[in-house]
Structures are given as structure tokens and as C-alpha cells.
């Protein structure tokens, strides 16, 4: 069942198109990563999904309701980018207030506030004024506020931007805990490694348009490089290979090729062996999410001139 659905979601500010006909579907229990360069329209898309921004066209449903519907909002948690919390409150007081806004009563609200404080590693800091929290602590508190209503769907817009590596790891662990608990997480991040480590599905957005979407494995398939250390390579065989793989490079005993797919590596090795070569090492290049991202974004830039 799709918990987040966007159909042709479009937002235009004056003559500036922030998002254009975005279609997305995120299944329940998944961690979905939204990637894109700065100004690509990621935050506008998230704001439309949580009901802060009205789309110019198209529609969205979150947890079965339109983003502005109060019934749906009971099931949604949101950590915005560039947010600030009310500094005049104490940490646990702020979370209790948010828990009450989310529908919990008196003691249940206070109990839940303590639970989420512990979850984000701030259990000893609840009695401090939020104004006295460090930036990283405020980010953790913001995450706690997003989770305090025990939502089914959590939108996190750059949740680790103010955190140190230890804090980032902790947030990743929290994301995986949420996944285990069956929650759906929509993660908006420019940290590709972070997305790569926790997300099931990814969409890449550039200039307000989704340029790629799917499972990580699908996105990472496609052209792959392979470096082979070998002996016994004849000139005829090199010429034959160069016809098939024009980007072939031969340096000493090292042959580097770009293949259409990683699956072709086995056929290539078989051909080399049949041609009389001795293979010492085969090293497939890792097609990282960063490669895919950079490739797609550059492609988009070139297409736009």
C-alpha cells in the first residue's frame, strides 16, 4: 500500500517553476530518499507533501488523506530544513506540548516526550532551555518533535545537516529502527552516502523534475567499468575488443573497459581466456549513487544548454 503518493505535483512561483509534474509513490514501511542539487525543488516538494505549500497543479495523498486534512496529519511527523524551535521552552516541555498538539493527553504526552528524548540521545538534557541547546542538540530535538506523535509517515528534510559523524550514525540507526517498526520515512538529503546506506528507494530531482527514480540497485545498474590484469593479449584480440568497447585502454598488463552492464564481465573474461589470455585479476568498478547522481545532473544541465 502506498502511503505517500504524488500525482503531477506542480508548484510555480511567478515565472519560476519549483516543481513540475512530479509523480511519486512510496510504499508503507520503506525508507525513501529524495536527492537533488541545491535549488532543485526538494524542499518545495516536501512542503507540498506535508501541507505547508499549496500545489499549483496536481495532487498528493499522505496516509490516505490530502496533506491539509487534519486526520492525515495525526499520522505524519515532519522535521523541516532551516527550522528553529521555541527557545523559551525547556526541551521536555516543548516535546510535551507537541505531543499534546498531536493528540496525546496529559501524562501520556509527558511519557512520550521522555521516550523520544531518550531515542535521540537527549535524555539528560530535557530540563534545559532550548535556547541553550547546541545546533546539533536542536537538530536532535527537532527529530524528537517529529517523532513524538508516533507517526506512520515521517518526513525528514536534511535531518543530519548540523550533526557530527557520530550524530549522523545515530540518526541512521534511528531511521533503521523506524523502518523495523514499520514506519515509512521520506528522507530529503544531499548526503548521498547517507541515502545509499539506509534507503530502499530513491528519486533524483533536478530543476523541479524527477530525472530518475527506483530501487537503489536499479539506479546503480547500467554502464560499469572493469579493470583486468592479464598476460598473453594479442594485437588481433585488442582490435576485436576495441570494436566492441571503443573506450578500451591498455596500459602495460592492465586492460580497462567500459561495459554496458556488470553482467557482461563474465562473458568478457570467457572471451579473453578463449583468446589465450591468462587472467590475474578482475576488478569491477563500483557504480556509486554519487556516479549516478552526477551523471544524471550533468546530463540535465547539458540538455538545458
Amino acid at each position: 500500500m502506498a502511503l505517500i503518493e504524488a500525482r503531477n505535483l506542480t508548484k510555480i512561483y511567478g515565472r519560476q517553476v519549483a516543481c513540475r509534474e512530479i509523480c511519486l509513490s512510496v510504499e508503507e514501511g520503506q525508507i525513501f530518499g529524495l536527492l537533488g542539487p541545491n535549488g532543485a525543488g526538494k524542499s518545495t516538494l516536501v512542503k507540498m507533501l506535508v501541507g505547508l505549500v499549496y500545489p499549483t497543479a496536481g495532487e498528493a495523498k499522505v496516509a490516505g488523506y490530502t496533506p491539509q486534512d487534519i486526520r492525515g496529519r495525526r499520522r505524519v511527523g515532519f522535521l523541516p530544513e532551516n527550522f528553529r524551535l521555541h527557545g523559551w521552552m525547556k526541551g521536555e516541555e516543548l516535546l510535551t506540548f507537541h505531543a499534546r498538539l498531536a493528540g496525546l493527553e496529559g501524562r501520556a504526552a509527558s511519557r512520550r516526550a521522555h521516550e523520544v528524548l531518550e531515542l535521540v540521545g537527549l535524555s539528560g538534557e530535557g530540563r534545559k532551555l532550548v535556547a541553550n541547546y547546541s545546533k546539533g542538540m536542536q537538530q536532535r530535538l527537532g527529530l524528537a518533535a517529529a517523532l513524538v506523535g508516533d507517526p506512520r509517515v515521517v518526513f525528514l528534510d536534511e535531518p543530519t545537516s548540523a550533526l557530527d559523524p557520530l550524530g549522523r550514525r545515530q540518526v541512521r540507526e534511528i531511521l533503521l529502527t523506524l523502518k523495523e517498526a514499520g514506519k515509512t520515512v521520506f528522507l530529503n538529503s544531499h548526503l548521498l552516502s547517507e541515502v545509499e546506506q539506509v534507503c530502499d528507494q530513491v528519486a533524483i530531482i533536478n530543476r523541479g523534475t524527477v530525472v530518475a527514480a527506483g530501487h537503489l540497485a536499479e539506479l546503480q545498474s547500467g554502464p560499469a567499468t572493469v579493470a583486468i590484469r592479464l598476460a598473453g593479449l594479442t594485437g588481433e584480440l585488442v582490435a576485436e575488443l576495441r570494436r566492441l568497447y571503443p573506450e578500451l585502454q591498455l596500459e602495460g598488463d592492465r586492460l580497462t573497459l567500459t561495459l554496458g552492464d556488470r553482467e557482461e564481465i563474465a562473458d568478457l573474461v570467457a572471451r579473453l581466456v578463449a583468446g589465450g589470455c591468462r587472467i590475474y585479476e578482475v576488478r569491477p568498478g563500483h557504480n556509486s549513487l554519487e556516479d549516478v547522481f552526477v551523471h544524471l545532473v550533468r546530463e540535465g544541465e547539458q540538455a538545458c544548454g
Binding site: 496529519r73 505524519v76 523541516p80 523559551w88 521552552m89 498538539l101 498531536a102
Partner: protein, 291 residues
């Protein structure tokens, strides 16, 4: 909505808005009380104002001083109303505190009404204490119980609520600075318009009176003050026709601070409708905007 109202009230309290306003008000009251003491110390007691010509004129002087105090106090109350509400939507969007509240299961109407009610509770408390402190000082120094104390208190409370409604509407669309400039400009317009209207009444200029009526329709804050003055002054005992002439008009002693041209009951009703309509417009505007 009530949770949001309580939150807003506590925010005003904890951010020391009320404390700073209270400290300034206390300084004002000390200054006013000192002035009142030295001006009225040689006056006869006004506990029975209609007894003699001396006590009658002492009462008139005391009421004049009270009205001037109220005139200045209404500036402070209006200023607090504008400053408290000026950034309650736009400012919270600018600094990023509204996002986490606006995604909660709380309609935008309830969010805005909650903020309005929280600020209104703070302003009503402030205005009531301020008014009673002024009336108390007058009683302490002169023995005069301000006539029409309760309805005048109600009117004094109403004035900052008019400014609050205007500022709440402004903050749903304008930046904090723009909204503040607009609210204070409208208030200045209303005050100047009110002055022109009263001087017009003194010199019997219909055009000047209408000018004031028009500015009161744009922002009925000054009209509420004029009605307050009329509520107090019109209850004063008239002269006995012997040693206290009957023809003395207490309003004329107040000049442009008085209420020669008194706003009608319709203007009072207009003021209440004005607050409701502006609040409804603020809700409509807030509901339609992107955050």
C-alpha cells in the same frame, strides 16, 4: 485552539514581553502619580464634587488629569498590541518556528485564533491592570471615584484589541517590518483624525468632524478612546445653577483630548464587527498562503 492560546500567553509571559511592558508601565505610573500628587495636593477633596464651586472645579481638574493619563496609557497599550502581534505569522515563518506547529493536526484557523486569543488575554490583563492602577492613583490622591468606571474599563480594554486584530491581519501577508510600519501608521492616522474631529466640533466645522469619522472607520481605535472619555465625563454632576454655573460643559475643558463629538453606539457596534471581520480576513488570508 485553546492549547495554542495558552502557549501564546505563556510565550508572551516567558519571553518577558509582559515583564518589560510592566516595568515601563510602572515607571509611567510612578511619574504620573508624582505629577498627580503635586498638581492636586492643594486641591480640596473631591469626594463630594457638587458641594461647592471649589470642589466642583477640583473634580474637573482631576478628571482632566485622569483623561490625559488614559490618553497616554492607550498609546502604551496600542504599542504593546502591535509589538506583540507584529511577527506572529510572518516573523515565525522568517525565523522557522512556524513549520513544526503548522504541520500538527491543528487547522490554520485554530492556529491563528489560538495566537489571537493568547495575545488578547495578555493585552486584556495588561490594560485592565493599567486602567485600574490609574483610577486607583486618582482615588488615592484626590478621593474621586472615576464615574462610569466599569464601562470605561471595558472600552479601555477594547482599544488594544482593535490594534491586535489589524496587526494579526497584516502579519498573515506582510513582513514583520512592513506590518509594524502599517499598524503604527494607521494608529497615527486614527489619532490625528480624532484630534481633527474634536477640534472640528469645538469650532463647529462639519468637514473636520467628517474627516475624523472617516479615519475612525479606517481604524476605530481613537473612536473607542473618545467614547471612553464621554462615558466618564458625561456622568459628572452638572452645575447647581447658583455658585456652580449650569452652562459649564466639562468636555470643553478637555479640548482636543475630550469628546465633544462623541462616537455613537453604532460606532461601538462597528468596532466590534470590525474586530470580527478583520480576524475572519486574517484566517482566510492565512489559510490560503504558503508557509
Amino acid at each position: 485552539m485553546w492549547l495554542m492560546a495558552l502557549f501564546t500567553f505563556r510565550e508572551a509571559w516567558r519571553k518577558k514581553v509582559a515583564f518589560i511592558a510592566g516595568a515601563l508601565t510602572l515607571a509611567f505610573l510612578i511619574l504620573y502619580g508624582t505629577g498627580l500628587h503635586f498638581i492636586t495636593r492643594d486641591m480640596v477633596n473631591t469626594a463630594n464634587p457638587a458641594a461647592t464651586a471649589a470642589s466642583y472645579f477640583a473634580m474637573m481638574q482631576t478628571v482632566t488629569l485622569f483623561v490625559l493619563g488614559i490618553y497616554l496609557a492607550s498609546f502604551l497599550a496600542a504599542g504593546l498590541a502591535v509589538l506583540a502581534a507584529v511577527g506572529s505569522v510572518a516573523g515565525e515563518i522568517e525565523n522557522g518556528t512556524l513549520y513544526t506547529l503548522a504541520v500538527r493536526p491543528l487547522s490554520r484557523r485554530d492556529l491563528l485564533l489560538g495566537k489571537f486569543l493568547g495575545l488578547a488575554a495578555m493585552l486584556v490583563t495588561y490594560a485592565a491592570l493599567f486602567f485600574l492602577a490609574l483610577a486607583g492613583l486618582v482615588y488615592w490622591q484626590t478621593g474621586l471615584v472615576i464615574p462610569g468606571l466599569v464601562p470605561a474599563l471595558g472600552l479601555f480594554i477594547l482599544e488594544p484589541l482593535v490594534l491586535l486584530a489589524v496587526t494579526m491581519l497584516g502579519t498573515t501577508r506582510l513582513s514583520t517590518l512592513g506590518n509594524g510600519v502599517l499598524a503604527f501608521a494607521l494608529y497615527a492616522l486614527a489619532v490625528v483624525g480624532g484630534m481633527i474631529e474634536q477640534i472640528g466640533a469645538l469650532v463647529e466645522s462639519t468637514a473636520a468632524i467628517y474627516t475624523g469619522v472617516v479615519t475612525s472607520l479606517i481604524l476605530p481605535a481613537d473612536a473607542v478612546y473618545r467614547r471612553l472619555v464621554a462615558t466618564v465625563v458625561d456622568r459628572l454632576p452638572v452645575g447647581n445653577g447658583q455658585d456652580i454655573p449650569r452652562f459649564i460643559n466639562p468636555q470643553s475643558m478637555l479640548g482636543p483630548f475630550g469628546s465633544q463629538s462623541t462616537p455613537s453606539d453604532w460606532m461601538l457596534l462597528y468596532t466590534l464587527v470590525y474586530i470580527v471581520v478583520l480576524l475572519a480576513a486574517a484566517i482566510y488570508s492565512f489559510k490560503r498562503r504558503d508557509i
